[in-house]
Every structure is written in structure tokens, then in C-alpha cells.
Symmetry: C2
Subunit: 487 residues, 2 copies
């Protein structure tokens, strides 16, 4: 049979192909083939889609297990609150309004304690406030006879207007944005709803109690089951960012002085590039820092943070770090500059630049370590002193740089105090050629100033938050050989 | 009477003070005085508080009348939707579930069309999806006899887990975050609530119809009453930021070359400082740009933006502008540098720097103008050519700078082609002294490169969004005296 040969490789075709009606069999075979092909395609797509999604989801979960924990907690809270539906006495106890408890859990449960607290407080306070106001308006309206609808309508309009307007006031919005929405919602429901409901006070009371049940479940679960604190997250974020700044700084300066010598080495590790780009995280974390600092204020004392922990200072530290990051961003100018500085000039500056950058990054790492262990630093003064002397050294190097203008082959014997080796002495270049180096130098010096601002901000935090004293005393550390006369 | 003299100035004391029981009168007088004083204090505080709040609120409204319009629209939408309560037939029509319409309006109505659309679509789709799924689960559960609670509970747990997890996927979160919440909410309410409600399908249907009523009211009001488009806001934001960058650039360079000459002039206008700091708005607008671009995609065609307007490009333009802003941020290094460059050096560079900065800011202003009038630019090529030649000129100036190292009093006759006047020729300074100038130069040159990236991004937008052709033809403009050979 011809048709057998055509599709002989398919198992199902061979077993089917011994029927009597020859025209029907191939037809059914074709449609079956199409069907099976489509089925296979769809199954393949579904399987692939699921596999892809699972991989993606798995990566997100593996990167940050706290997210998985949060999802489990949401499920748990919802299961708990559903008990009010399943158990008759509980259901009747809240007059069939158990729905509001579920709704509260869904909209109030956030991934960190601060956000959940803030939403709970907002929801409860706004509900009570708007509920009582709504009942009052409803009473006034019911006394006013025919004008009832008018009174209710205009009060809804006015309060909705006022509450929406208040959401545009930044200081109000930062803390009570959710409350304003709930206020409008509850006020409208109570005052307008009161037009059709008889036992308004009962209704309002049940609603408040169900919301209270919902918020209590949220707060208990969010605080007692693997709590995720906005404050700790903010603290770690700042710590990580300090680390990243240090890595970036080291990386950029090393890149400038190294890569062009070994320019063949193009396929660098991804990790190195990631480290180089670390400052970008600092550039982009302004919004996160501010919202976290806002949320952290709602949180009770936890870990090493007490209730009045100065969260606002984290925003200040973040701002200071961002200013450092701006400097690092512009270091790319030097790295990508079209005209390379002559090797001799580079060599002349290399030591001083590397020294300054390593002194700077040491400070950043010490700051990160301070944050990590919430301790004061005993050697910070030494490190800052080191950095400042590195700045001075770099400035000295600048003053003694053996540069001439466009008069080639002229010997310049500058009084160099920078361990200059012989080949440094005879150079000829224009300012144009040294531009990248001078830019690097000037950015590094500015960066040092900005790091000092960061140090001050972290010190302020350490003092206000009562970080513990450093256990290591000022013993001979590798980095602090000489004591600072004054830093 | 002594007591009369003590408080004789108070009217109320005099009229009271002729009673027979002398001891009681002063007592009542004292408590009254305290009461009146407290009353006065509270009244004063209230009046002052109201006055202060009114002033603040007025300023917010005066600065951006769109906000007042939004508040009025919220009031209007709520008043409209309350009609469902006031009118018996309408109320009965939705089976007393009019509450959901009010709730929808309150939580869905946002200040711009895109956000409202996005929330409406999310709410409707998620409600329908979760509602049908909930009914299905409820049916399965009701078939499973004693395991009903178990089936419902575990499905709520699973779906809540999955939906919460999906909120952590960034691409999903950007568009469907609200939908995920509504999905969890509706699914829980329907599947769990079904345990106690008999006519579940009726309930679900009524709920969907009330939500549909609420969303339609929101959409009608948000689109037809003074619509506030996220897209237009984003467009204007980018345009304003381009303008601010141009002002800042001009301001910073002028500041560097001027202020130190006229250093007595400390009390500069606030406006000038505001202009100088304009780049900070660009630095901080990343989050706004991204969320606006996300919302603008939901909006229908409006004004000069059609449905598939490339909103994503605004984020790209914003990123390019921010890179310019990083350069400007670091210009402050030069302005605040401790060692001033000698006047002669400054003068040497002033012309070329001013030329480059004005060429750069002209491009930024032209870009702002392109955005403003949604037109292509016919003279952009000229302007970019101008800027590039200004860069080259500045580089030439660098090459010819009359600098020597620390050998004072040596005459350097550099071949300067930069209209150098006599006094430039004899200078002596170290690289240290010219550091701020070289930094300025290098930042300006880098800034020019980054502006070119911005130009490319805006050009891409102009092409993709079919900006109209420039009406002004390439006639002799002030700025474009010579045609570019190749830019």
C-alpha cells in the first residue's frame, strides 16, 4: 500500500491500516494525525510553558526564600480566617459578615511587618473614624426629612473630595494613603448604605469586629511566623550597597590601570563586570530606601533595633552613598576615554590612585561591617586618616607630575617624592593626553570627600542607635600602622 | 475688692463679682477662667491649624489644578454611583449588592486615565476569572462530601500561594499586581463564601454586574471629564526635564567661570539656584517615568498619541538624560574645588567651554521643543555638528594649553590657535591647579557624548511615533551658519 509507505514510520498508522474501506482509513488517519499533532504541540507548549515558568519561579524563590515564606504566610492567614466560615458559631457570631475578615486579610497582608502594621492601623482607625462619621451624617440626614438624599449626597461628595485631596499632601500620603482610601470607602458605605439598611449601628459594629479579627490574624501571623522586617531589610540593603560601592570603586580603578595593558583579555568573568556595575544598585535604590524607612517606623522593637530606631538616617546614608555612586558612574569616562594616557603617566599616578582607592574602599567595607554587626568602629579614625593622607599624597603627585606642553624631547626634572623610577623623568605630552588621568584623580579625591560624609552619617546612626562598642581595641591592625595625629 | 482689681480687665469677672459668697465666686471665676483660656487656646489652635492646612492645601491645588480636578471627579463618581442606593428599582436590580459598585469606584478611581483603566481591567478580568474558578472549586468540593472543607481550604491555600508568588515576578507585577490581589480576594470569597451561601452563581453574577457598573462609571468620568492622561504627563515630564538639564548645564558652567570673579555676590536669586539644581529632578524621576510609561500603555489614543505610541522609549530617553545629569552632578566638584585654577587658565578655557556648553544646551532645548510640539527637527543635524566642532575646539584648546610643571618663570610659546591674547603666554602652574578646569572640560566632553545618545533616543521616538515634519525649513538660522559636511 502506498499510504503505508508514506507514513509507515508511525506506529499507530501501521496498526490501523488493515481496514476494508480504503478511502475512510486514510481520512480518519489524517484527521487523527492532525489531532495528535495538535495535541502534541499543545502539550509541548504547556509542558514547556510550565517548565519555563517553574524555572523562573524557582529562581525567584531560590534567590530570596523570604518571598516563598511570605506566600506561605498569605495562604496560612487565609486558611485561618476561612475558619470563620466553616464553623457555624463563629459565622453566626459575626452576623454573616465574615466576608470582611477575608477581605481584610487579602488587602492588608503585606510582605513585611511594617507594611502590614501600617495597613492594619490605617484600616482600623479609618474604619472607626469614617464609620462614626457616617452614622452621624446618616442621623442628621434622617432628621432632615425630604432633604435626606441631598444631605447624604453632598456629604459624600465633600468628604470624598477632602480625603482624596489629602492624599496629595506628601507627608500625609507617606503614612496614611491607605487610610484615606478606607475612609472614603467606609464613609460612603455607611452613610449611603444606611439609606437602605435598618440596623446601621449593628452593621457598623459587626464590620469593625470582623476587620479587627482580620487584622489580628494578619498581625499575629506576620510577627510570629518567620517575620520579615522592613527595618532589617533596609539595614541589610544599606550594608549591601556599601559593600557594592567598595567593590565597584576597587574594580573601576583596577580596570583603568590594568585592562588597557592586558587589552586582549576581553572575555572577563561576568562576576567582575557585575562587581564593576555594583554602583548602579546604589543609584537606583532611592525609592526602596525611602519607602522602607517609612514602613520601618511602624515596626515594634526587633533584633538589634528598638522602637525609636532612627530609620530616617538610613535615607541620609543612602543619599550620601548615592553621591559617591555618581562619582563612580563618571569613572567610566576615564575608562572609556578615546585617548589613552601614556603608560608613563599612568604609572606615575598608579600607586597613589590605587592607594587612595583602596583606602576609600576599606572605609566603605568597614562601614558595611559596622552595619552588619551593629557596632561602633574603633579603627574608623585611622582609616579616615589613611584616606586623607592618601588624598594628600595624590595631590603631591599631581604637583610633581612631569608634564610639559607641546615641546617634545625636553627633559623635565621635577622634584618627585613619589619613588619615581628613572623612566618617569623624560616625558612629553599635552594636557589632552593626561585628561583621563586627571579626571580620575579629581573624581577619586571628590569621592573621598563624599565618603567622609557617608562616614559622618553612619557615625550619627551608630550614636543615635546605640551601636555596641567595638570589641577589637586599637591594637596593631594591618591597616593602621601609625596612629593619627588628628583626623 | 482685691480680686476685682486683679482681674478687673476681664468683662465677665466684673459683672459676676457682686455675689454674696465671696469664696465661691473667685473659685468659679478661676475654673471659668481656665475653661475660657483652654477654650481660647483650642479655638486658636483649631483656627491656626485650619488656616495652615488651608494654605498648604491651596498651594498644592494652585501648583497643579489637575489634582483639584481629580478630587472633584472622585466626588462626582461616588455621587453618581450612590444613585444605585437612592433609587429603589436600581437597588433591587442588583439584588442589594450596590455596595460593590461603590467599593469599585473608591478603589479603582485613580488620578490618571491609564491607572484607572489598568485597575478596571485588572479588577474585571480577575473577578471573572477567580469567580468562575471559585464556583468550579465550590462544585468540586460540594461533590466530595465530607472532604468539602478540606478541598476548599487547600485550594484557597494553593491559589493564594500561587497568586501571591506571581506578584514577585517583575514583568507580571508591573501590569497585573492589582489583578492578583483581586483574584485572591474574589476566589476566597466565592469558594469559601459558597460554603454558607446558597445561590452562589446568582451572587457571583450580581457581584460581576455591580463591578461592571462601578468600572463603567469610573471609565466614563475619567475619560470624558477633564481627562488626565498618564501619557501626556510623561511626555511633559520628559520635556520639562530636558529643559531643566539645559538650564542646569548653562548655569553650572556660567557659575564656574563667573562666581569666583564676583565672589562677593553671595545672595543670588533663589531662581538661579533652583535652575542650577534642576538636574536633581532628572536624577530622581526614574521611578515616575517607569510607572507612567507602564500606565500610559493602557491608555487609548489621545491628543497626538495614538494607541501604539512607543511609551517604552520615554524610559530610554529618561535613562539617557539621567546619564547627562550624572555629569552635571559632578560639575559641582569643579565649582566647589578648594584650589582655584588661576584666572589665566580659566580665561584660556572659558570661551571654548562656554561654546560647548551653549551648543549642548541648545541641543537639549531643541529636544525639549521637539517634544513640546511633537515635531521632527530639521536643524538637529546642524546643532549636533556645532556641538561636535565645539568639542573638537575644546580638545584643541587642551592641546595648546600653556602649562608647565613646577619650573616657574619659564616662557612657553605654544602654538595656540584659539584667539589667544598676549597675557595667556606666560603662565606657570602645576597640574594640581588646573585640575578643576580639566575636570570641567572632561565632564563637558563626556556630557556631549551623552547628549548625543539622548538625541538618538529622541530621534527614535520621533520616527516611531511619527512626529510631524518641521515646518521651518533649513533656512539660515542664527545657530547654523555653516552646513555640516558630515555629522
Amino acid at each position: 500500500m502506498a499510504s503505508k509507505e508514506e507514513v509507515g514510520k508511525l506506529e499507530w498508522r501501521i496498526s490501523v491500516d488493515n481496514g476494508t474501506t480504503e478511502r475512510l482509513v486514510p481520512k480518519s488517519g489524517l484527521s487523527k494525525r492532525i489531532f495528535l499533532w495538535l495535541k502534541g504541540l499543545v502539550m509541548k507548549m504547556i509542558v514547556e510553558g510550565i517548565a519555563k515558568f517553574t524555572r523562573k519561579a524557582w529562581r525567584i524563590g531560590a534567590d530570596d526564600p523570604a518571598k516563598v515564606v511570605h506566600c506561605l504566610k498569605v495562604g496560612l492567614a487565609l486558611s485561618l480566617v476561612s475558619i470563620f466560615y466553616y464553623m457555624r458559631p463563629l459565622y453566626d457570631g459575626v452576623g454573616g459578615n465574615a466576608m470582611w475578615a477575608i477581605m481584610t486579610v487579602v488587602v492588608v497582608f503585606e510582605s513585611n511587618v511594617g507594611a502590614t502594621f501600617s495597613k492594619c492601623v490605617n484600616r482600623v482607625v479609618a474604619t472607626i473614624l469614617a464609620g462614626s462619621l457616617g452614622i452621624a451624617v446618616h442621623w442628621v440626614a434622617s432628621q432632615s426629612g425630604k432633604a435626606e438624599v441631598l444631605v447624604i449626597g453632598s456629604s459624600v461628595f465633600l468628604f470624598a473630595f477632602a480625603a482624596t485631596y489629602s492624599r496629595f499632601v506628601p507627608s500625609f500620603k507617606a503614612r496614611f494613603d491607605y487610610g484615606a482610601i478606607i475612609f472614603i470607602l467606609t464613609f460612603s458605605l455607611v452613610s449611603v448604605g444606611g439609606y437602605r439598611v435598618d440596623k446601621l449601628v449593628d452593621l457598623a459594629q459587626q464590620r469593625v469586629s470582623t476587620i479587627a479579627i482580620g487584622t489580628s490574624i494578619c498581625i499575629i501571623i506576620t510577627v510570629f511566623f518567620c517575620p520579615i522586617w522592613a527595618g532589617s531589610q533596609l539595614h541589610r540593603l544599606v550594608e549591601r550597597n556599601l559593600q557594592k560601592l567598595a567593590d565597584s570603586l576597587d574594580g573601576c580603578v583596577a580596570e583603568y590601570f590594568k585592562v588597557k595593558e592586558v587589552s586582549a583579555n576581553q572575555n572577563e568573568d561576568e562576576e567582575t563586570i557585575m562587581k564593576l556595575q555594583g554602583f548602579k544598585c546604589v543609584l537606583n535604590s532611592k525609592g526602596t530606601e525611602e519607602s522602607m524607612a517609612n514602613l520601618a517606623r511602624w515596626e515594634p522593637a526587633h533584633g538589634s533595633f528598638n522602637f525609636r530606631h532612627p530609620w530616617k538616617l538610613y535615607v541620609k546614608i543612602g543619599a550620601a552613598m548615592r553621591r559617591c555612586a555618581y562619582c563612580l558612574e563618571n569613572l567610566s569616562i576615564c575608562i572609556n576615554y578615546e585617548t589613552e594616557a601614556p603608560d608613563q603617566v599612568k604609572k606615575h599616578f598608579e600607586e597613589a590612585c590605587m592607594k587612595l582607592s583602596s583606602a576609600s574602599s576599606k572605609i566603605l567595607r568597614e562601614l558595611a561591617d559596622m552595619m552588619k554587626n551593629t557596632r561602633k568602629s574603633s579603627k574608623m579614625d585611622f582609616l579616615v586618616f589613611d584616606m586623607n593622607s592618601a588624598v594628600q599624597e595624590l595631590q603631591e603627585t599631581l604637583k610633581t607630575v612631569p608634564i610639559e606642553t607641546n615641546k617634545p624631547e625636553e627633559e623635565v626634572t621635577s622634584g618627585e617624592d613619589n619613588k619615581g623610577d628613572g623612566e618617569d623623568r623624560a616625558m612629553s605630552m599635552s594636557l589632552h593626553e593626561v585628561l583621563p588621568v586627571t579626571t580620575l584623580v579629581s573624581l577619586l579625591i571628590e569621592n573621598a570627600t563624599r565618603i567622609q560624609t557617608t562616614v559622618e552619617a553612619v557615625d550619627e546612626l551608630a550614636n543615635l542607635a546605640d551601636f555596641k562598642q567595638d570589641s577589637k581595641k586599637k591594637t596593631g591592625d594591618n591597616n593602621t600602622k601609625q596612629p593619627p595625629p588628628s583626623s
